[in-house]
């Protein structure tokens, strides 16, 4: 391939208490899609931030096309031809598409010319976009287009993409891959960060695997199995959840034509959602982020009360009952946002345990909290779910995302729910921890509980669900047995590529 575009030699970066990158070296060729693979905390983002000039390495050198490259700020990296599509934190909801694009450029053209350029580039790469729309009103896939186009307008030599497909439908993923292949054929190099192994095998030419800040291997993903890649990431083999063999029992949870208006301007209303969940069954609900997942969870948990006669638990109408009553009855839930919704960040694990388990676990006596009982309950969760924490008295915010997720899900599972509703149970959790959480959910179902899993990770839903339904703009499709489904069918259930969406009558 001749001289590489970017070569990294011995990059090291340490933060107090942790070495984020330890002597990492690899090369990215011209016109190559290079995967950067690793668990959360493996040091992927630190490495990328060094290439993009947001973080300065403690040691090591970078070379861009043969000359030394040490960007001290993103503007310098952009001038050298590095562009980055971020996973979070890089769009401004209240600003228009054109303004967002202008902010990511060094010397943007006048708004009118820029709008024309955006239209041209977006059409050339099959990513239609209106430059004057407010970003807050766009779907997740469209927001990503904004970021990609912002990068493409600068003719980058190296495009960095951080977990780009986590918010896309399968059809949108296909469109994105076409765009990336087209860029590769034009000679652009791409550094593609992901933990979705099948995608990397389908798209990338080379993969570099990081574990605990160190490079483990550089390999050709097409010649390596997904399992081998995963084991290199984790460093050991781990159990895939065992298939289960229970037959569904009576209906535990049912919604009938549940409609709720959107709570605020950027939220989604629920439109006539009907579902039923039986004992011993896992019902998976897929869909692209922002199509009513949070709203459905809030309606089922009791955070938002629903109209009378829409939600039934074990045959009784619970529509107008709050979360406490529903929890007492055995309907438990775990929301998506770990910090701030599922757990109070500044409170200890014990205190967070009391917050949801106080009544079911009998941790309150005569209005006083039984702290020793609460500590025992937290210890049980920590032990049973292998939560890595200095102690049960540690503040929730001090735990890594995966460990806190294990704690908040484990906390609900150990309360023996009859129905457990969880949203994104393994979001941002490493592969081994995710497998443990999925196994725990399956075990709970095997004991006769009904599990409703809302997730954007299709592989996860296909792995653990008995039936699958998709949320699209607040409507829930009919639930179908997973065995009958293909990825294409699921994509269509999720609304297909959002531009091809068939309009239907508003209720």
């Amino acid at each position: 391939m001749g001289q590489p575009l970017l070569s990294l030699r011995g990059l090291t970066k340490a933060y107090p208490g942790v070495v984020a990158n330890d002597d990492v070296s690899f090369e990215i060729g011209r016109g190559e899609i290079h995967a950067l693979l690793g668990e959360n905390g493996a040091g992927k983002s630190t490495l990328v931030k060094m290439i993009y000039g947001l973080v300065k390495p403690d040691a090591g050198q970078m070379e861009m096309a043969g000359s030394a490259f040490a960007p001290s700020e993103p503007a310098e990296a952009r001038r050298a031809g590095v562009a980055m599509v971020f996973q979070h934190f890089s769009l401004f909801d209240a600003l228009s598409v054109a303004e967002n694009v202008a902010l990511g450029m060094e010397t943007p053209a006048k708004t009118r010319d820029l709008a024309r350029q955006i239209r041209e580039v977006s059409e050339a790469y099959g990513l239609p976009l209106d430059p004057y729309r407010t970003v807050g009103t766009l779907s997740a896939g469209e927001r990503q287009r904004v970021e990609i186009i912002r990068c493409l307008l600068q003719d980058p030599r190296l495009l960095i993409m951080d977990e780009p497909t986590s918010v896309l439908t399968p059809q949108e993923v296909e469109i994105l891959f076409e765009t990336l292949r087209k860029l590769r054929s034009e000679g652009t190099s791409i550094l593609y960060i992901s933990h979705k192994l099948e995608e990397i095998r389908a798209l990338c030419d080379t993969a570099t695997i990081l574990r605990l800040g160190q490079k483990v291997a550089t390999c050709t993903p097409a010649e390596t199995t997904a399992r081998e890649l995963a084991e290199m990431m984790v460093g050991s083999s781990f159990a895939t959840p065992a298939a289960k063999t229970t037959t569904p029992g009576e209906v535990l949870l049912e919604t009938r034509q549940l409609s709720l208006p959107a709570p605020d301007a950027f939220a989604t209303p629920l439109r006539a959602v009907s579902l039923s969940l039986r004992a011993g069954e896992v019902l998976g609900i897929g869909g692209v982020a922002g199509n009513g997942q949070d709203e459905l969870l809030a309606a089922l948990s009791g955070e938002r009360l629903a109209p009378r006669g829409t939600i039934f638990f074990k045959g009784g109408d619970v529509s107008r009952m709050g979360p406490v009553v529903r929890r007492d009855a055995g309907l438990l839930s775990g929301p998506e946002e770990r910090l701030g919704h599922a757990a109070a960040p500044n409170m200890s694990l014990v205190e967070n345990g009391v917050l949801t388990a106080a009544r079911r676990e009998g941790l309150v006596r005569n209005g006083f909290i039984d702290w020793s009982g609460a500590a025992r309950f937290s210890e049980r969760v920590i032990e049973r779910f292998d939560v890595r924490t200095p102690s049960a008295q540690t503040a929730a915010r001090a735990l890594s995302g995966g460990n806190l997720q294990k704690y908040v899900i484990g906390r609900e599972i150990l309360q023996n729910p009859e129905v457990l509703v969880v949203n994104q149970p393994t979001w941002g959790v490493d592969a081994a921890a995710a497998a443990a959480i999925r196994q725990a959910l399956l075990d709970l179902a095997a004991q006769g509980a009904g599990i409703l899993v809302i997730s954007q990770d299709l592989d996860e839903l296909l792995e653990i669900s008995d039936r699958f339904a998709a949320l699209n703009e607040g409507r829930l499709s009919e639930a179908r047995p997973v065995a009958e489904l293909t990825i294409e069918k699921i994509g269509l259930m999720m609304g297909g590529a959002h531009d091809m969406e068939v309009a239907d009558a508003q209720p």
């Binding site: 947001l54 993103p74 401004f92 209240a94 600003l95 902010l103």
Partner: protein
């Protein structure tokens, strides 16, 4: 009651004078809040501007150095707020309230020797034929330069935020400091500049009170104008044009109720005195009731680069 004693021309003319201090403070605070910082110390910065402006104008015998000194003093005071909140990450609400208390205390200390004095004031501009126009000339075209400067400042802030790249960056910082930081913009620097601008505007507003509107120094003379400026920014949905409406409305009702009191209207004085506050807030609530409220998404949230 003798309503005929109220002259509409004089009434409208005094509205512009009465609204100017609040307009200046509010347009400055608008820029601060657009950058994502909530500075509740407007009242303290205004009164500091009032006393410093008064003292300097008395000592130099000219109002212009007074205004300059007022802007400078309040900008420096606001930068102490900026240092605490942006560098040392103190709580913005508590620090802003502290700034108000410091400003009130500091101003009465500095102002003690100047009580009862009279200051040189700004001359009315002679706009030639414009000032000679019937009715309009008296109403609109015969004020001092600060009235027109404040209006120009509103237009400038509006254009700055809407059309310039620097304005776009400022809005971006207020909208999402994490995203702005990820793109390489200097969040803290942008916010410090906005805070200093807001301080300078509040100082000018305060000096206008003590040098033109009243014009003398009395302790606590801002009498809540800074709080009204803050409220106007919120109810104006963070838009420059609506800040202008809010400030003039407040100024207008203030002048009107004073005239009504003087004319002996059969309404309790307390109610009349409260009316500018009530009416301004009511009208702005109605304006902003529909549609998005447009608060900058990062308003009041602390920013730390490593987070």
């Amino acid at each position: 009651m003798d309503l005929s004693s109220i002259s509409p021309v004089l009434l409208l003319a005094s509205v512009m004078v009465s609204a100017t201090p609040i307009l200046l403070a509010a347009i400055g605070e608008l820029v601060v809040e657009k950058s994502g910082v909530l500075n509740l110390g407007v009242e303290g910065m205004m009164i500091t501007g009032a006393v410093v402006g008064f003292a300097v104008a008395v000592n130099t015998g000219s109002p212009v150095p007074g205004f300059l000194a007022a802007a400078l003093a309040s900008a420096i005071l606001s930068l102490s707020f900026g240092l605490l909140t942006q560098v040392f990450l103190s709580n913005q609400v508590a620090t802003g309230l502290g700034l108000t208390l410091v400003g009130l205390g500091l101003s009465s200390l500095i102002g003690k020797p100047y009580e009862g004095m009279k200051s040189p004031t700004l001359p009315r501009l002679d706009l030639g034929p414009l000032s000679d126009l019937p009715v309009l000339g008296r109403m609109v075209f015969s004020h001092d330069i600060m009235v027109y400067l404040s209006l120009a400042l509103v237009a400038a802030v509006w254009a700055f935020l809407k059309y310039t790249r620097a304005g776009l960056i400022l809005r971006a910082v207020g909208e999402s400091h994490d995203a702005a930081h990820a793109l390489g913009y200097k969040v803290v620097r942008v916010r410090l500049m906005a805070i200093a601008f807001g301080g300078a505007c509040a100082g000018l507003g305060g000096a206008y009170l003590s040098l033109v509107r009243v014009p003398q120094w009395t302790e606590g003379m801002t009498a809540g104008a800074g709080w009204i400026a803050l409220a106007i920014v919120v109810f104006a949905s963070w838009r420059a044009g609506r800040v202008l409406i809010g400030a003039y409305l407040f100024g207008g009702v203030t002048v009107l109720q004073l005239n009504l009191q003087a004319a002996g209207a059969a309404v309790p004085v307390a109610l009349l005195s409260a009316s500018p506050y009530l009416i301004t807030i009511l009208v702005l609530v109605i304006i902003s009731a529909r549609g998005a409220h447009g608060a900058p998404a990062s308003l009041g949230r602390p920013f730390h680069a490593s987070a």
